[in-house]
Amino acid sequence: MTNEPQFDHVDMMLNMGPQHPATHGVFRMVLTVDGERVVDVTPHIGYLHRGTERLAEVETYGQVITLFDRVDYISNLNNELAFVRAGEKIMEVEAPERAQYIRVILAELNRVASHLLFIGTYAIDLGGMTPVMYCFRERERIENLFEHVTGARMMHNYMRIGGVKSDVPDDFVPWVRRLIGEVRMGVEESDKLLSTNEVFLARTQGVGVIDGPTAVSCGLSGPSLRGSGVAYDVRKDDPYEIYPYLNYKIPLGENGDCWDRYYLRVLECYESLNMIEQCLDQFPAGPIMAAGRRIARPPAGEVFAHSENPRGDLGVYLVSDGSDKPYRVKIRPPSFCNLVGLATMTRGAYIADAVAILGSLDIVLGEVDR
């Protein structure tokens, strides 16, 4: 009679975060671990909760834009675009054509810069040291252009309800054309270095798989959702600004694993650069601010406007009571919703995979906690 070993089985509770190199900021994952296998994940967030939504209720519409710069501090212009569109919807104001083109060009450049940062930090999560240097070199070029146009590298406060703050300088179009060439070379370099590297493929393919329906039910959006094959992109489904006038492609993944989510972002970089070229070809002249009255006091009402942030569907639900301050601003943060799917993806994976899966969701803690 063989006697079973009588020691009971206790899973180790490993605390990853809130100060941990792989958690992209202040985010804590409590992994219950059996050896190297992850049995369960309970994320803890809220370390960066600044009460942005409540603060927006005591600031005028012009000041709330500076708040939105700091929600997702890696794609600032896309956040500003989301709030400014909600503001324009509620004030029934239409930004002139040239302002819409400037906004879309800068927002797409911001998307490329954000994806470049993702590629760099995702490589570091998996141990590759070099892609981050190449990606940040390109990101630096894009930020120089932002500084040239808006005056600030990251916290721009450039868009206004009804247009943009100031017109682009005269050498804007040649500078952006040159920039597109350089950034495209930079993205190709990182793509060649990383995308089909054997160790990278071994670490990401088939890891953190989530299928379409569960992803949609978890509220995933953006490249994380498109990795599972669901073609949901706000620029295509609910077109805004001048996206209907552009030809572009939305890449879709098939297996919904980490590699798909990563590679879709690389492809989106190329698509965004093509889009910017088309915008530059159609760049019209004209005013950059909606003419007419000083825009301060919107009519009372509720409005929901959302746009395609590099991380997913960034929505703004704006309730106004007719005063010059919004009554209630609710932000639909894509990173917050993508994190709901983290637990279902990480169960049963290794610890090293938990880092890879979290990295592939590309979350930004400022947006998760607001």
Partner: protein
């Protein structure tokens, strides 16, 4: 055996010189790695402390020495401080038998290779002890990973050293180098060099295999609780081990101080030649570190047990047959080149081509959004509220 005073003094002087060579080698590696990686990544690397940053390792050493040496309260203090010594000592003792030139060696044992293998295994004990004694979850995880990795990559290295011993029918370093006077063993059996390099990377814990102190997962592994001087000892031991892999590769595979010139060079030139080859191998190690991400622990184990160990046994058998039946030496070369091609083909068919096809398919059948015709660009002519606008278009 009576040890005269002069012998004792001579031995201590030799040991002191040996310690300096190893320590200087390690410190030069620290500087070289940071500069070389900087170069590969388009940044200068340390250039503030001293000309070209040459004094940077010394500055690091001073900083680490002056840092407060903190030990976690719940750790077993004795074992906690014993672990760095256990890791540090073997990596220096190994240098006893390394010949830098024909007679520039402390004790040229005729079992030199065997001595190296026996001593280098000890560092595993130190790593596991460090992991366990610092009583932190990450350290324990790192310690177990280190144990698993080092033990399973010990076997391929030992088999390769045996193959080299067989080829030069002796375990004495000097005889091994003499055997390579005309043809270096890297040409004779390239597969052995590849397996040695991969297993050496894993022994030292360099990038494709640095899972036991992976920053992003286990945050420093067994060294996580160490700080100040003790951490410096681990750090130094790791670089000395890298230098050992470099020197060993040079001695066993690149023909030490003999190969291109056949005849014996003057002592200084042969030491320089050996060092050049060692630094060449070390540069390859740093180059791999700049390019490859990190493997996962199960893939790492699978690679050791499914690929490296069977291949090294096959090579060992073929080397034995070649020795027994006096086949010409290039039989081994053909075998190695043939075997080297197999994993490349298998990997590219099983993993690389599907990935490339996937990449092409994603960009091919992406959802295409067609542009709607833009309404005629109506230029609103009323003056703008905020800033003067002149309609300068591109």
């Amino acid at each position: 055996m009576n040890v005269t005073l002069s012998d004792a003094i001579k031995l201590t002087m030799q040991l002191f010189a040996l310690l300096n060579v190893a320590a200087f080698g390690a410190i030069s590696l620290v500087w070289l790695e940071r500069r070389f990686l900087g170069r590969l990544q388009g940044r200068p690397g340390p250039n503030r402390v001293g000309p070209l940053g040459l004094l940077q390792p010394i500055a690091d050493a001073i900083k680490l020495m002056s840092k407060e040496d903190v030990a976690p309260g719940t750790s077993q203090r004795l074992l906690f401080y014993a672990a760095p010594i256990l890791v540090f000592v073997p990596s220096f003792v190994v240098w006893l038998t390394f010949p830098l030139a024909r007679d520039v060696v402390v004790r040229n044992l005729d079992m030199g290779l065997f001595f190296f293998v026996a001593i280098s295994v000890l560092s595993i004990v130190g790593l596991v002890l460090a992991g366990w004694s610092s009583n932190s979850k990450y350290a324990i995880l790192g310690g177990f990973r280190a144990a698993a990795q080092l033990v399973s990559y010990e076997i391929p290295i030992i088999t390769m050293i045996l193959v080299i011993g067989m080829l030069s029918d002796s375990l004495d370093f000097v005889k091994v180098v003499d055997a390579q006077a005309t043809v270096p063993f890297i040409a004779v059996v390239p597969l052995a060099f590849v397996i040695f390099l991969i297993a050496g990377l894993a022994e030292v814990g360099r990038t494709p295999f640095d899972i036991y102190f992976a920053e992003s997962e286990v945050v420093g592994g067994p060294f996580v609780e160490y700080s100040g001087a003790h951490w410096a000892i681990f750090f130094l031991a790791e670089y000395v081990n890298t230098f050992v892999v470099g020197i060993l590769g040079a001695l066993l595979f690149l023909g030490g101080w003999r190969w291109p010139f056949g005849a014996d060079l003057p002592q200084i030139a042969s030491v320089a030649l050996l060092m050049g080859k060692a630094y060449f191998i070390v540069l390859i190690i740093f180059w791999i570190r700049a390019t490859y991400p990190r493997m996962r622990i199960d893939q790492l184990m699978a690679m050791a047990w499914k690929w490296l160990i069977p291949l090294s046994f096959v090579l060992f058998l073929v080397a034995a047959f070649q020795l027994k039946f006096e086949w010409p030496w290039w039989v081994l070369t053909i075998l190695s080149l043939g075997v080297l091609v197999v994993p490349v083909v298998v990997q590219s068919r099983k993993q690389r081509n599907p990935a490339l096809a996937l990449a092409v398919r994603y960009s091919a059948n992406a959802v295409i959004v067609h542009a709607k015709p833009r309404p005629a660009a109506v230029i609103v002519d009323d003056v703008v509220a905020t800033s003067a606008v002149e309609g300068t278009s591109a």
